[in-house]
């Protein structure tokens, strides 16, 4: 069975005045139908650029330097713009981070929804309006008929994100890329939206790529997880496996620095140092300057290994001894 999305060795580089920035460097992962993949990493680790690369929306000076993006078996890299456009919003949809910024402030909701319908389906205006209204109803917006006539500023942040999600759902896409869509929202709204998106994805068999820096979100939502550091994926695996037994020292550090009730009263652990600048990364493993387990071997590039069947790991000195 082909994966809904299979990314192989994807590299997205930015030619800047200061030098070549490898925002995404040799990244590989896959998502299956109905599966939720959590892509986790700090700010600037290349999560969002990975998402934009999938849609072919990396703006100059950025470019996809290498790799293949196989969507339902077909490679998207190098596909002409009109063909990519036919996929965007149709088979692959994206939800952005900041709901206050994703809707055009001067266009009514119905305009912004109906234009999306018309971009991919040759239907009448009345039919487009019906679809838009149904999508709004589906994401839990009350009295969708009236709300269609509203402008974005008449909605709250949570409601705007629901509208953005409704737009993403209009064509029942096979893949939704969600770029930290709940980061800007209240925790209660966040929980509601998470639950709804999960249900919608499950009902429609949509593959979901959830980009976030919030491990607690991933824990409740994702089936599998990919941890990204400095443009590279350092560890992948099922959510339970990775969160319970992190093998990469970076993943372990991340999980260790989440506040927990069980460790009340002790100092919160943290990863020493700062994320390195993508312009001059350390040779070899990018994490070695902050890693407690690093030694001379880490100056070489670590290769992917598979400690268990469903896990990928990129480290010379992984935590493999959990009983110890």
């Amino acid at each position: 069975m082909t994966h809904t999305l299979q990314v192989e060795g994807l590299s997205t580089h930015f030619d800047t005045r200061a030098g070549l920035v490898k925002a995404v460097d040799n990244v590989s992962f896959h998502i299956d139908r109905g599966e939720v993949l959590g892509l986790v990493g700090e700010s600037g680790s290349g999560k969002s650029v990975t998402g934009f690369s999938l849609l072919g929306l990396v703006d100059s000076p950025g470019r996809i330097a290498a790799g293949r993006i196989l969507f339902q078996g077909g490679n998207l890299v190098g596909l002409p713009e009109p063909e990519l456009r036919a996929l965007r919003g149709n088979r692959i949809a994206m939800i952005f981070q900041d709901p206050m910024m994703t809707l055009n402030p001067v266009l009514r909701i119905d305009t912004q929804m109906m234009e999306t319908v018309h971009a991919h389906a040759n239907v009448s205006a009345a039919e487009a309006r019906t679809r838009a209204r149904d999508a709004l109803g589906q994401v839990g917006i009350p009295s969708p008929d009236e709300r269609l006539h509203a402008y974005p500023h008449q909605f709250s942040g949570g409601m705007r994100q629901r509208v953005a999600i409704a737009i993403a759902l209009l064509h029942r896409p096979d893949l939704i890329i969600a770029d930290e869509p709940t980061t800007a929202l209240d925790v209660t709204i966040q929980a509601q939206i998470l639950a709804e998106v999960q249900k919608l994805a499950r009902d429609n068999g949509t593959a979901l790529m959830w980009i976030t820096h919030d491990l607690s979100v991933v824990a409740g939502l994702a089936d599998r997880i990919a941890v990204m550091y400095a443009g590279r994926i350092v560890e992948t695996g099922s959510v339970t496996a990775v969160l319970d037994r992190p093998m990469h020292p970076y993943t372990a550090g991340l999980i260790g620095s989440v506040p927990s009730r069980n460790r009340r009263g002790t100092r919160l652990r943290q990863i020493p140092g700062m994320t390195p600048s993508l312009i001059d990364l350390p040779e070899g493993c990018a994490f070695r300057t902050r890693c407690p387990r690093a030694d001379a071997a880490c100056a070489r590039d670590p290769q992917d290994s598979h400690p268990t069947a469903d896990r990928t790991l990129r480290c010379f000195h992984p935590h493999l001894d959990f009983e110890a």
């Binding site: 456009r85 994703t102 809707l103 402030p105 266009l107 991919h120």
Partner: protein, 324 residues
């Protein structure tokens, strides 16, 4: 809406009132019309008669009172020179200026916006750079000099275009217009271009700045992620956002083009209001000067009102009633 309009009208009334004082006093400072109007050979008795006939013997506050009283009845006084109501004199010259100003504004929209869009979308291209460099000439070269150069090249050297007057006119609604005849249009080409040059540059730069500012916005990227074509993104999503400052500037510029077409009209001997006001200032024809300035005040108030109303069409976040 109604209460907003009412408030605006009351404000406008005060502006007009303040202007009458300033204009009336100002006109009294620039010189005594009697010195110019009466031949130097006239004797003392003749001189006194003329002063009484013009009403200049009375104290200035009384003159002002009389002026205000008749102004409220729609009478702005008779021209000292033409012995005709000043307002009718101005009205008879208005169509010439109006058609010149409208043509100039149309030119700046038709040329300025597309050039600005191009320069905004391709800021690094040769074309984009040339447009920006050219626009500097557009607003920094003095109008009169450009006018003279146009005449030198196109009328004197090449002999392609006529350089003075309105040419053949055709009557529409009882008013003679130049734009209805071929010859009249030929006469309009140079003065309209001359008048438009600075505005083309202004609209162009404003459009470019708007495009540069809007393109990186999230909602533009979201529109692209929905699968919309580049034309839809540019002409709907970008355009509607940048139109607000452009409409403001075009509105205000339309006012100043009408008010200050003086230079162009003088250079091209265009028989419009600008030429009338210059002639009137030369002979200190007070009623015409006052009437002209009052008319300009009304014009600006009216244009500002229209621009404010247009805002509500362009930007849904603008509501004229504060209570809504």
């Amino acid at each position: 809406m109604t209460s907003w309009l009412l408030r605006r009208l009351i404000q406008a009334l005060f502006v007009v009132l303040a202007m009458t004082v300033i204009v009336f006093l100002g006109v009294n400072v620039i010189g005594n019309p009697v010195d110019i109007l009466i031949s130097p050979q006239a004797d003392q008795a003749e001189r006194a008669r003329a002063i009484i006939a013009l009403g200049l013997d009375r104290p200035i506050w009384e003159q002002y009172g009389t002026f205000l009283w008749s102004a409220m009845q729609g009478d702005l006084g008779k021209s000292f020179v033409f012995n005709e109501p000043a307002l009718r004199l101005i009205a008879s010259r208005m169509p010439a200026t109006l058609e010149l100003a409208v043509t100039a504004v149309l030119l700046s929209i038709v040329l300025g916006i597309p050039l600005g869009l191009y320069a905004g979308l391709r800021p690094q291209s040769l074309g984009g750079r040339l447009i920006m460099a050219g626009s500097i000439f557009g607003f920094s070269l003095p109008t009169f000099w450009v006018g003279l150069m146009l005449i030198m090249v196109f009328a004197v050297q090449l002999g392609w275009l006529p350089s003075t007057g309105r040419g053949q006119t055709e009557t529409l609604f009882g008013v003679p217009w130049s734009f209805l005849t071929r010859d009249g249009l030929a006469h309009m080409v140079m003065p309209a271009t001359n008048l438009a040059l600075g505005n083309i540059a202004l609209v162009l730069r404003l459009t470019r700045a708007g495009v540069r500012e809007t393109l990186p916005m999230d909602y533009i990227k979201f529109a692209r992620a929905k699968g919309l074509g580049p034309a839809r993104v540019l002409f709907v999503h970008v355009m509607k956002n940048i139109l607000i400052p452009i409409v403001t500037v075009i509105g205000l510029e339309f006012g100043s083009i009408i008010a200050f077409a003086v230079v162009t009209e003088s250079v091209f001997a265009w028989p419009g209001m600008g030429k009338l006001i210059i002639d009137s200032i030369n002979v200190l024809d007070r009623p015409v000067i006052v009437a002209y300035l009052m008319m300009i005040v009304f014009l600006f108030i009216f244009i500002n009102l229209i621009v404010d109303l247009l805002y509500t069409v362009l930007d849904p976040r603008v509501r004229l009633d504060s209570r809504e």
